[in-house]
């Protein structure tokens, strides 16, 4: 492997990992808070939302990267919005056709991906300035970071509110002769805020410890 290709592979790896931890969209950049709080009631809708965002992010980054040299600075936000809206519409139609229950469960939050700051942020800061390869890797990294974060939050909330994960019971509920009393608050917005707040605190503590070390 030549030095150039080694350096390129290093950049790709760094770009991919960046979205998962150092620039995690939810925990580090605090972007996409609306779906983070709204759809993390259970893992299935959180995963569906995450995968929809990955699809839109990858497609919009590809288009923006391909047309980056033709973009007029004052029209770029308009171009990004048109691009994102197109892929969100396609994702919405796909969910309605093939996963109708999940589409109904997510309700307005799928069309609301259009205004998700993560996507426009990556189009502006990465895809409009970088090559196609870097833009795709960045979209995958950021999308994976967003999806994993949503699933972690949703897992905590689903377990504590229903004693199940992926709708598969894992804790013995008191109503069925077991010991676990479901925390109703975890299925409400208050549960989303508390879980997110605690997770943010934990991530900050880990980051500070890493910086000291």
């Amino acid at each position: 492997m030549t030095n150039n290709s080694k350096a390129e592979a290093g950049i790709y790896k760094e770009t991919l990992i960046r979205g998962l931890w150092r620039e995690n969209p939810v925990f580090r950049l605090l972007l996409g808070m609306c779906p983070t709080l709204a759809v993390t009631i259970a893992v299935k809708p959180a995963l569906t939302m995450g995968l929809s965002v990955v699809f839109v992010l990858v497609c919009s980054n590809i288009v923006v990267s391909l047309i980056r040299n033709l973009l007029k600075p004052h029209l770029r936000i308009l171009m990004f919005t048109v691009t994102i809206a197109t892929f969100v519409t396609i994702a919405d139609l796909f969910l309605k056709a093939f996963v109708p229950e999940m589409s109904a469960r997510l309700g307005p939050y799928v069309p609301l991906i259009i205004v998700n700051c993560i996507i426009i942020c990556r189009a502006e800061t990465c895809a409009s300035k970088n090559s196609l390869g870097i833009s795709i890797i960045d979209a995958l990294g950021m999308g994976a970071g967003f999806t994993v974060t949503l699933c972690v939050l949703a897992s905590i909330r689903e377990i504590l509110s229903t004693g199940a994960i992926f709708e598969i019971p894992i804790l013995n509920l008191q109503s069925q002769g077991g010991w676990f009393v479901p925390w109703a608050a975890m299925s409400m917005p208050v549960g989303a805020f508390i879980t997110l707040g605690l997770m943010l605190g934990l991530v900050n503590a880990v980051t500070k410890k890493q910086a000291k070390g």
């Binding site: 047309i67 007029k72 029209l75 171009m79 048109v82 519409t89 139609l93 309605k96 056709a97 309700g107």
Partner: protein, 206 residues
């Protein structure tokens, strides 16, 4: 001339990209529309079966019946006849729609065989505000409609929601969505009644 040239220079990319994106959405829509339609029909029947428990099947009584939406737009709906095991008609089911607070609300409305009572409604499509307007899907609001007379319903801001009469108690914090459902029902029941009477499927005295 200069203005047109300047406009094209500035916006040609947006025009070209919008054209291709339009084609892309049209292709996706054409490919999946049938599947989406099937899913909607399946959902319609599931909701209608939940509301008209005696029904074992649904037959289209009037296909593409022309009704006017609240905004005066002409739309076509299928009016379905609910058939019990003994082949008797146990009610009618049809979809209706109107403007809600955030977006269009689409519901399945069921009435009894004589069009005298509303047998309930179920939500087919609603993008109302989560936690507020989307409570129109919850039983405590929907149950108010079970068995109410199929006549003009009224919305009340306060009252006892457990009393079954033509006064529907609004959801606190979601008056617009509550009112939208009442308006949709009032608007459609009257028109469907006329359609069925004109076709001789329901007698006028009922």
């Amino acid at each position: 001339m200069f203005k047109i040239k300047h406009f094209i220079q500035q916006s040609w990319l947006l025009i070209v990209v919008s054209f291709f994106f339009g084609l892309l959405i049209a292709a996706a829509n054409a490919a999946w529309q049938d599947k989406i339609q099937q899913n909607e029909e399946g959902k319609f029947e599931t909701i209608a079966r939940e509301l008209l428990t005696e029904a074992v099947s649904f037959e289209t009584a009037i296909e593409k019946a022309e009704v006017q939406s609240a905004k005066g737009k002409k739309i076509n709906i299928d009016i379905k006849k609910a058939i019990a095991a003994d082949r008797k008609c146990v009610g009618w089911a049809f979809s209706c729609e109107g403007s809600g607070f955030a977006d269009k609300i689409k519901i399945v409305l069921t009435v009894d065989a004589g069009l005298e009572k509303i047998m309930g409604f179920g939500v087919l499509l609603s993008n109302e505000t989560p936690g507020f307007g989307d409570q129109i899907k919850l039983p405590y609001y929907r149950n108010q409609f079970l068995g109410v007379p199929a006549e003009q319903l009224k919305l009340a801001k306060t009252g006892n929601s457990k009393v079954i009469d033509s006064e529907i108690v609004a959801i606190s914090g979601a008056t617009v969505s509550s009112e939208a459902v009442v308006k949709i029902i009032n608007h459609y029941v009257e028109q469907v009644k006329k359609q069925l009477q004109n076709k001789g499927l329901v007698t006028n005295d009922k």
